[in-house]
């Protein structure tokens, strides 16, 4: 049995929305600030004197549940001093397509050498490009990701995240 009145009511709901302010955002142009503790692309850090904080201990690789970190260490020599410790990471690679951004690597790191940043736009056309090398991880992210004001949230920012 047709119910013309119900049909009109239904369209009424639809037409009402036209006069409301949209809650969607035009994503690539407009970026929503991420939550301050959001875990995005990793970043490797240096000391102020230029030495890398990472000593290539592989604890991040051990902690990683997705097994996406590969570290090959080598020894610092007087003419080739890379890190502050005896050893440094000769190869440091993160496979971003495998990473689940759990943040265990920054928890495991004894030197706060690796932290997770806020960048999430890390899609690529080729899988190979998803493997981030040490140079890419040491460099600051190219794109800036807006971050929401930490004051808006009552969750504390972990100490290792403060400088990220």
């Amino acid at each position: 049995m047709p119910q013309p009145l119900d049909t009109v009511k239904g369209f009424g709901v639809t037409f009402k929305q036209i006069f409301k302010k949209p809650i969607t955002q035009e994503y690539p142009e407009v970026k929503r600030p991420v939550y301050p503790r959001f875990r995005g692309r990793h970043r490797l850090w240096r000391f102020e004197n230029g030495l890398e904080k990472c000593v290539g201990c592989s604890l991040c690789a051990a902690a990683c549940p997705a097994d996406c970190i590969r570290v090959v260490a080598a020894e610092n020599t007087p003419d080739n001093r890379i890190s502050a410790g005896e050893r440094y990471a000769r190869i440091y690679e993160i496979n971003m397509s495998r990473c689940i951004f759990c943040g265990y690597c920054e928890l495991a790191c004894p030197f706060d050498a690796i932290t997770l940043g806020n960048e999430y736009e890390i899609s690529e056309y080729a899988r190979d490009d998803q493997i981030y090398t040490k140079d890419m991880l040491l460099a600051p992210p190219i794109k800036r990701t807006p971050v929401a004001d930490a004051e808006l949230y009552d969750t504390p920012i972990p100490y290792y995240k403060e400088h990220a």
Binding site: V55, C57, A74, G85, E86
Partner: protein
């Protein structure tokens, strides 16, 4: 042996019965309770209680914590470990806090991190945080105490395991503790490198990261590695080893205690020579000689075609030279191809092997319990089979007498021993646990020494034994496999149509090289270019023992399983032997398990491949028929000293390619007996000229009390072209 008396001990309220005299650490383990230790290691001799980690409370003893490792189980003993005793708990906690006072927080950069007893025990028994606020003691680090071992004194906890190994196992005494008390530190003599043959074992004994192998420095972490249990294929002992691999590369070799074979020790050759896998001149593609251009890389199809062409062209006039480092399966596959496929029965076998010694078979560990040991032969035991030397030292410590005889003429010495009126022979007859060891050349595969043992009545004494130390790692297995492939015999070909050289050892053998001069063509299978360049027409790449699956037979006659630790850069020998055999209508499987199954029926009593086992058992004694010693080779006559050559442990194609082991290579020395030295007015360290028919070598003199007069002993690589009789004079 009598059954030991059992005593009842209570550990944390659990009653256990153990033989009287068992250490308290083992007693607790029998009760399922762990007493933590750092310095305790029964293989190093009596416990010293240096680390104080094993403190427990024992009722009836003074009311202070007792070091469990120094106590033995007594009847009615009541022991309380840290599980139930607050006293012991506090004591262990305090011990760890003291140890950690000066231990640096190096764990992230320390190679031991992750497999470190100090880390583990601190987690379980130690304090959670430090109260130490002063700067820690520092030293220069790391100090290379040899090219293969680095020492980090900051990390050292002075457990004295390493010095005890050096003093009472290897007995080299090169690693010692200097100074006293808190100033104690581990050191070698005046910056001399730690040159012992077994030095690498201290890196495995060290419970912290103080002594570490330089070859493993920063190479891998314990959670990134795989471990492959296999056996070492560098000498006839066949020590059981665990090979650590990471990302398809061998990173280190550790011992895998087989109490009957190696007792958990391995020599430095076995531990550090793995570097040859990545040698610069490693052959990875087949090489084919092309006119005017020398050896050029060829594809595998082309190489197998060429090999087939050469084998056909030789029309059965083929000689096969074997190295003795092939696996049993490879040797059998090759034998089947040559013997059944081509009718070529002539082979240059790596060495003579006699099954006569199998009638007096004993595990190597039995040497340590022997009463009287006679070593017959020219070669120092530690150069030929280094672990046997450790067993001999253990025997000496246990009160056995070790006599070396027959330097310069082993066969004659054997005959003399078996004689009625020989003093040493009489004592061997009377002894309950006598052992005879042949260490030298010309032993006829042990036939001499076995015949001697037979006449000395070893047959009726189950604790007596005979060991023949072969020259090659798997010579026994290779010879057995070669003879198992066919019963036919054939005439020696002359002229030789094709010489097939298998392995680097055969390729560097001068007698094989001289055969090559008479051969129309040469096919060589070698790992390294250096072994094949200049004389081979076709080179097929070889693989190393770490890259093969199969079985090895060691000097006791123990069949042991070899496992592939890493994938070789080239197909292994069995793969192309199988292909090549197919072209001659012979069926050889490319899988070692299948080949072994076929061979096992014939010579290993049908033992399945899967049951060779990780800790292989020793076959029982095999009765031998009437034993007759072959006639001894004629000793060369002439003026001057008889030259005795020996092959040093640190020599050969693999060791030459490992730069870390260069310092262990034999010095250019001639060893002389004290009598000869006095007669020739030569002092130790003098430069001498060793001359024979026109060739001369300048060497340094060393006086060896174990040598008999009339003999000069020189390492193979320094003897070079010297003849059998040499004249020695001061330069």
């Amino acid at each position: 042996m009598s059954v030991p008396e059992l005593v009842t001990v209570s550990v944390d309220g659990r009653e256990v019965q153990v033989p009287k005299g068992t250490g308290l650490v083992e007693t607790a383990l029998a009760a399922g309770i762990e007493i933590p230790v750092f310095c305790y290691e029964p293989r190093l001799g009596p416990a010293i209680g240096a680390c104080r980690m094993c403190l427990v409370e024992v009722e009836g003893m003074p009311p202070k914590p007792q070091a469990a490792c120094t106590l033995t189980a007594q009847d009615g003993m009541v022991v309380k470990t840290a599980l139930t005793s607050q006293l012991a708990r506090n004591a262990q906690n305090a011990t760890l806090e003291f140890i950690l006072v000066n231990h640096p927080l190096d764990c992230p950069v320390c190679d031991k991190g992750g497999e470190c007893p100090l880390q583990d025990l601190t987690f379980r028994f130690g304090p959670g945080r430090t109260r130490m606020t002063f700067p820690k003691r520092t030293f220069d680090k790391p100090i290379p105490i040899s090219p293969t071992i680095s020492l980090d004194r900051e990390r050292c906890i002075l457990c004295y395991r390493c010095t005890r190994f050096s003093e009472s196992v290897a007995e080299d005494g090169e690693l010692v503790a200097v100074n006293r008390g808190a100033q104690s530190m581990i050191a070698t003599f005046e910056d001399e490198p730690y040159r012992g043959r077994f030095s690498g074992n201290v890196t495995e004994l060290c419970p912290v990261g103080a002594l570490l192998p330089t070859t493993y420095r920063f190479e891998a972490r314990p959670w990134e590695i795989q471990t492959v249990p296999t056996v070492c294929g560098l000498c006839p002992v066949g020590c059981n080893v665990n090979v650590t691999t990471r990302e398809g590369k061998v990173k280190r070799v550790l011992s895998r205690n087989h109490p009957d074979v190696d007792g958990g020790w391995i020599c430095d050759k076995g531990r550090f020579a793995f570097g040859h896998l990545g040698a610069r001149d490693r052959i990875v593609d087949p090489l084919r000689r092309q006119r005017r251009r020398g050896l050029q890389p060829a594809g595998w199809d082309e190489a197998v075609d060429e090999a087939e062409r050469l084998l056909r062209a030789a029309q059965g006039r083929i000689v096969t030279a074997l190295s003795g480092s092939e696996t049993v399966e490879q040797a059998y596959g090759l034998a089947k191809l040559m013997r059944t496929g081509l009718g070529a029965h002539t082979a240059v076998l790596p060495e003579e092997i006699s099954d006569a010694v199998d009638g007096f078979r004993l595990p190597l560990s039995a040497i340590a319990g022997a009463e009287l040991i006679v070593v017959v032969g020219d070669d120092p035991v530690e150069e030929r089979a280094p672990i046997v030397d450790l067993w001999l030292r253990a025997a000496r410590r246990n009160g056995a007498e070790v006599v070396t005889t027959g330097v310069g003429g082993g066969a004659k010495a054997c005959r003399q021993l078996a004689g009625e009126d020989d003093e040493l022979g009489r004592r061997l007859r009377e002894s309950d646990r006598p052992v005879l060891i042949w260490s030298g050349s010309g032993g006829a595969g042990g036939a001499h020494v076995a015949a001697c043992a037979e006449r000395l009545g070893f047959g009726s004494k189950p604790d007596s034994g005979v060991f023949y130390l072969p020259l090659t790692p798997n010579g026994r297995g290779v010879v057995e496999a070669w003879s198992a492939a066919s019963d036919d015999e054939g005439p020696d070909p002359d002229p030789i149509g094709l010489l097939f050289v298998s392995g680097d050892e055969a390729a560097s053998d001068p007698s094989v090289r001289s055969l090559a001069e008479r051969a129309d063509a040469v096919i060589a299978t070698t790992m390294f270019q250096g072994s094949a360049v200049g004389w081979a027409d076709l080179v097929l790449p070889g693989t190393s023992y770490l890259e093969r699956d199969g079985t090895f037979v060691n000097l006791e006659g123990r069949l042991q399983r070899l496992r592939r630790a890493v994938v070789p850069p080239t197909p292994d020998e069995l793969a192309w032997i199988s292909q090549l055999a197919g072209r001659f209508g012979v069926e050889v499987s490319p899988y070692p398990s299948v080949v072994f199954g076929e061979l096992s029926e014939r010579i290993f009593g049908g033992l399945p491949y899967g049951e060779v086992g990780e800790r292989a058992a020793l076959r029982g004694r095999e009765p031998t028929g009437e034993l007759r010693a072959p006639a001894p080779a004629a000793t060369p006559k002439g003026r001057g000293l008889r030259l005795v050559r020996y092959r040093p442990l640190f020599s050969g194609a693999a060791v030459e390619r490992v730069p870390e082991l260069a310092f262990q290579r034999p010095a250019a020395e001639v060893q002389l007996s004290p009598q000869d030295a006095r007669r020739l007015r030569i002092k130790a360290g003098d430069e001498v000229d060793v001359r024979s028919n026109g060739t001369s070598r300048r060497l340094r003199a060393r006086i060896d009390k174990g040598l008999v007069a009339g003999v000069a002993r020189i390492a193979d690589e320094h003897a070079e072209e010297l003849q059998a009789t040499v004249e020695v004079a001061r330069a």
